[in-house]
Amino acid sequence: MTPLNLKPDEQVDSYFDSNLAKRYWFDRVFVSTAFICTLVGLVILALLLFDVCKDGLPRLSIDFLTHYPSRRAGQAGILSPLVGTIWLLVITALVAIPIGVGAGIFLEEFAASSLLAKVIEVNIGNLAAVPSIIYGLLALHVFVRLMNPITGGRSVLSGGLTLALLVLPIIIVATREALRAVPEGIRQAGYAIGTTRWQVVRDQVLPIAFPGILTGTILALSRAIGETAPLITIGALTFIAFLPPLVPLTEGLRSPFTALPIQIYNWVSRPQEAFQIAAAAGIIVLMAVLITMNATAVYLRNWLQRTRN
């Protein structure tokens, strides 16, 4: 595909610059620039991880994981934030997965190409651009204020519901994509032997789409546990020296809470260096959880692609 090296003559439009050496040189500069730009993100990522590990690794210990936050930086741990994050993760998953997957099934299998499906599609596109702090304001008004008798106000349940709303669009989109990838013939075969739509979905389509849905869901949940702003807006506390009780569960759900990103923010915003080191150690724990979740999702996706082919 090498361009022809024509000798310039009067026939050639004067606007056409056939100086190949210069053009090829410019081409190489362009590729190099593009390559360097690609590296920018990766270099910053490496610097970030290095900086956090350098500051935080020496601070990391079993004590750090099993102690409550403290006003003395040297003794501060992340027990209550870590447990709070796990509570949030479980509540978010229990609320967002059934609703998100159900909505995805409805839009793709029961109402595909209906007006409702189109309206919801546009709506989900809009929600993707809404800042997460706005979800926090919605939750402050609805979960904390209006539903106060049920949620207990600024509680871990309110937090979990907020994050569930936030990741719902992601789970719906992932479910729809996974369902769309299932060959139409499988559905037709099901209908041909007299099964209903739901039976086809339940017994044939869902099992095939399951790994794809799972991957999308894990990515959505990992996004949820890194969120800080909406939790601050609904009033997550930064200093909590107790864990929400598991029994009775209603009391646990309605108790005040903190979470890893909240605690990290609190420590970062303090002027003392010892707290900032604790923040770095907290970041390592948070990133370890996130990378584990992401790696699981990527592994599942690759495994899925391999078994399909």
């Binding site: 361009p3 053009r23 090829y24 081409d27 590729v31 593009a34 390559f35 730009c37 690609t38 920018v40 993100g41 990522l45 970030l48 900086d51 609703i99 159900g102 909505a103 409805f106 029961f110 109402a111 409702l116 919801i120 709506n123 809009n126 651009a129 809404v130 800042p131 997460s132 702090i133 706005i134 926090g136 304001l137 919605l138 402050l140 609805v142 904390v144 719902l168 669009p169 209903t196 739509r197 739901w198 990515l219 890194g226 969120e227 800080t228 702003a229 807006t233 609904i234 930064t238 990103p261 990290i264 923010y265 970062v268 900032q276 923040a279 970041i283 948070l286 996130l290 992401n294 990527v298």
Partner: protein
């Protein structure tokens, strides 16, 4: 002895499956409506509290005051003070994210080998998955001290460092959505350009990018919305100092940072502070709504279809 026909022997209970079919459809339909309810809920709760806010603070003062001091004894509510800070940090972020993100997208889809792509794309996904509070830490405690060596007069909290790192945070948004758009341009268009004697760079600039324009613009607009609504990086690294300035060396307070500041103070519901964050949130929501509409219009107007 008459033979029993199939139809008499096999009588499945259709009524049960028909009932469960209807129930499932109803329940899942209700789930699907939750996403619409979310949008309505956002609009209603913002509008409701904002109206209450404007009953106490005239809208004229909200739009024309040049000071933002709602927590002072003599409160002033000049929203443009916060908007100027959001504008400043967002512009800095976009100056990083758009060129770097776009070049990354071009490299990934036009130049990188399959092997390279397989490593680069997950790395970009990790970059996209880093929580913003972590970027805030990095901006405040790593980037700012370095910048302070180079730039005299740079405050500890400053718009520059927050904006730069926010640019890195939204870079994957631009890169991955633009790459999808560029990748979708049919190969035949490129072949045509090569056949006319264009170099690769000329092909990309004159053929591929214009063909992918609507997707690229959509990704850029989403990135603008992300930058405007970004909260933790600017709260941590740009500070809490509301002032009307476009000097990136100074500490400023964005709209989102103000909402965080009030939320941390545990403002009682129905107080004026409480309503103030909804008025600020409403402003933020309207900005992202306008961006959405521009994006929607642009994509519909300029989408190139190749079948």
């Amino acid at each position: 002895m008459s033979k029993v026909g199939h139809s008499e022997r096999w009588k499945p209970k259709r009524s049960l499956s028909r009932w469960s079919e209807r129930a499932i459809k109803f329940i899942f339909g209700a789930f699907a409506l939750i996403s619409i309810a979310t949008t309505l809920g956002i609009i209603l709760s913002l509008v409701f509290e904002t109206i209450e806010f404007f009953q106490e603070v005239p809208i004229g003062r909200f739009l024309t005051d040049t000071e933002w001091t709602p927590l002072f004894a003599n409160p002033k509510y000049g929203i443009f003070v916060l908007i100027s800070a959001t504008f400043l940090t967002s512009v800095i972020a976009l100056l990083v994210a758009i060129p770097v993100g776009l070049m990354t997208a071009i490299y990934l889809s036009e130049h990188a080998s399959q092997q390279t792509r397989r490593y680069l794309k997950p790395a970009l996904e990790v970059l996209a998955g880093v929580p913003t509070v972590v970027y805030g830490y990095f901006a405040l405690l790593f980037v700012t001290p370095i910048l302070q060596i180079v730039i005299p007069g740079l405050e500890v909290f400053n718009a520059l460092s927050a904006g730069l790192i926010m640019g890195i945070a939204i870079l994957p948004t631009v890169a991955s959505l633009s790459e999808d758009a560029i990748y979708a341009v049919p190969q035949s268009l490129r072949q045509g350009a090569y056949a006319l004697g264009a170099t690769k760079q000329e092909t990309i600039q004159n053929v591929v990018l214009p063909a992918a324009l609507s997707g690229i613009v959509a990704s850029v607009i989403l990135a603008i919305a992300r930058a405007v609504g970004e909260t933790m990086i600017v709260t941590i690294a740009a500070g809490q100092n509301p002032r009307l300035t476009l000097d990136p060396r100074l500490s400023v307070q964005t709209m989102t940072a103000f909402i965080v500041q009030v939320s941390l103070g545990d403002a009682p519901t129905a107080s004026l502070e409480y309503k103030t964050i909804f008025a600020v949130g409403m402003t933020l929501f309207l900005i992202t709504l306008i961006l959405n509409m521009v994006s929607f219009w642009f994509v519909n107007r300029f989408r190139e279809k190749y079948d």
